[in-house]
């Protein structure tokens, strides 16, 4: 189960159909354990669908998709994953603490440890001051962090975070990226993080560049820049899109 040499996520000929049209097309990729992997691409390229497939929320998935050594969506995985949906999924009519207390109970965190665990997770996302505030009264950035805190509960082995830093101020963004790396380094957690902002690419150990339901390239930011002979991930992405279009138009 804890075989760290096997990738955290492995996809072979992965396809997803939504509304009759393929959204993910023959994806092949792997996410190594203990890394912070960025899933980059423009809005609508299939990032969210891919993340939903990994956590087992997406219907009509064909091909192979292994998560932590089990087929995606297995009941055994539900304890081992942390999932942040793109829109903040918390109860607006509960306080931050009450939200986390419930989600922790669902994850099976014992009553005795729960309040301490909730406190530490709230501190991780810098919300200690707002612990007693109703989620519905928080600013959108604070609410997004309550939602992120839910994904951190229960020390998951794999964190699937859909745009966790959108709309946050730069200082907070940096502290969250530090947190993500700390989780990977100290706990050996694997993080799969999507973003449509290319300037976050250099904060990742590895990148997957997606466009129109396909993975254009994967590797470390340095590898991608070197392979394309460019000086930024954004330019590397443009270069890859251009090369891909040439390859596909005879």
């Amino acid at each position: 189960m804890n075989d760290t040499s096997r990738p955290a996520v492995l996809a072979r000929r992965l396809e997803v159909v939504r509304g009759g049209a393929p959204v993910l097309k023959e994806l092949e990729f792997s996410v190594p354990r203990g890394t912070v992997t960025g899933l980059l691409g423009p809005s609508g390229c299939g990032k969210t669908t891919l993340m939903r497939a990994v956590v087992g929320a997406q219907a009509r998935v064909t091909g192979r998709l292994d998560v932590l050594g089990e087929p995606a969506g297995s009941a055994a995985l539900r304890h081992r994953l942390g999932y942040l949906t793109q829109a903040p999924s918390v109860y607006l009519d509960l306080t931050a603490t009450q939200n986390l207390d419930y989600w922790a109970a669902v994850l099976g965190v014992g009553r005795a440890d729960r309040s301490e665990h909730v406190r530490s997770v709230l501190a991780d996302v810098d919300l200690t001051e707002h612990a007693g505030a109703l989620a519905g009264r928080l600013s959108s950035g604070q609410r997004a962090r309550v939602s992120l805190a839910v994904a951190l509960l229960g020390a998951p082995e794999l964190l699937v975070l859909d745009e966790p830093t959108v709309g946050l101020d730069p200082v907070l963004r940096r502290s969250l990226w530090d947190l993500f790396h700390r989780l990977a380094a100290e706990r050996g957690a694997t993080l799969l993080i999507s973003s449509h902002v290319m300037d976050e690419a250099d904060r990742c150990d590895r990148l997957m560049l997606m466009r129109e339901g396909r993975v254009l390239a994967e590797g470390t930011p340095e590898e991608l820049r070197a392979r394309t002979g460019t000086d930024s991930v954004e330019h590397a992405f443009l270069h890859l899109v251009e090369a891909d279009r040439k390859a596909r138009t005879p």
Binding site: A57, A59, S89, Y102, A105
Partner: protein
């Protein structure tokens, strides 16, 4: 199914209600207001108030619980919390029975208050025991919760969810025997009312009104209402999907 997770869900739903004082007040006091109104509407015919009032003690909680549960679970679907729960180790039954437990506890309060006010303040004249009436009101509320949980799966918006009330509940009120004895209706309607759960609930409540002791068919009526409620709760659990398109 896990008892811990079911109870945690019930506590969470009650905590949500606890932050919404206005909804709580409306749920508790609107039935009292309507019952009082009815008392004065039928001022010259107290016997008619007894008959309609006794049945309404069950129908009010059914309507309010139906609406609250269907909107609450619809919100769970549209805000993404359901998707998140389904990715976690929460059983579908844990969620459904958690909701049933929370709103059921609330229905105890609502029906208890309405029955007490009806019997003691508004002179609702019962031949049978008010406890039996309350018991039946609670089962009817449970039926409303189960129906609400079930239909929320078929509503894409709050607008649609609210429309299920006139579509599914009002016809049952019309044919349940409250407006006209069921055996005097057009035979097709009588047959229809035979398979609708509210007919059994109203039959039992009318029985408590008219006779001392346990009324005829009371156990049959209880069994039908409980069976239908459990059946719809099970169907509601089936409509929850871990994977969605």
């Amino acid at each position: 199914m896990s008892v811990g997770r079911t109870l945690a869900t019930a506590r969470r739903v009650l905590r949500q209600l606890g932050h919404d004082r206005r909804t709580v007040a409306l749920l508790l006091f609107v039935p009292l207001f309507l019952l009082t109104l009815l008392h004065y509407v039928f001022e010259s015919d107290p016997r008619l108030f007894d008959r309609v009032g006794a049945s309404l003690l069950g129908i009010f909680p059914l309507i309010t619980m139906f609406l609250t549960t269907s909107i609450a679970t619809l919100r769970e679907r549209t805000t993404g919390t359901l998707e998140r729960l389904m990715a976690m180790p929460l059983g579908k039954g844990d969620l459904i029975f958690g909701y049933a437990l929370a709103f059921g506890a609330f229905a105890v309060l609502q029906a208890g208050l309405a029955t007490a006010v009806g019997v003691w303040l508004l002179d609702l004249d019962l031949a049978g025991s008010p406890w039996l009436l309350l018991f039946m009101a609670l089962l009817t509320a449970l039926l409303g919760i189960a129906l609400g949980l079930f239909v929320s799966a078929f509503a894409a918006s709050e607008f649609q969810a609210v429309q299920f009330m006139p579509a599914l509940i009002v016809p049952q009120i019309l044919v349940c025997g409250l407006f006209a004895p069921r055996d005097t209706m057009q035979p097709a309607l009588e047959y229809a009312s035979n398979v609708l759960p509210m007919s059994y609930s109203v039959n039992a409540m009318t029985g408590v009104l008219n006779g001392t002791g346990i009324p005829d068919h009371f156990l049959r009526d209880v069994a039908v209402v409980v069976g239908m409620a459990l059946g719809f709760l099970a169907l509601a659990a089936v409509t929850l999907r871990r994977r969605t398109p």
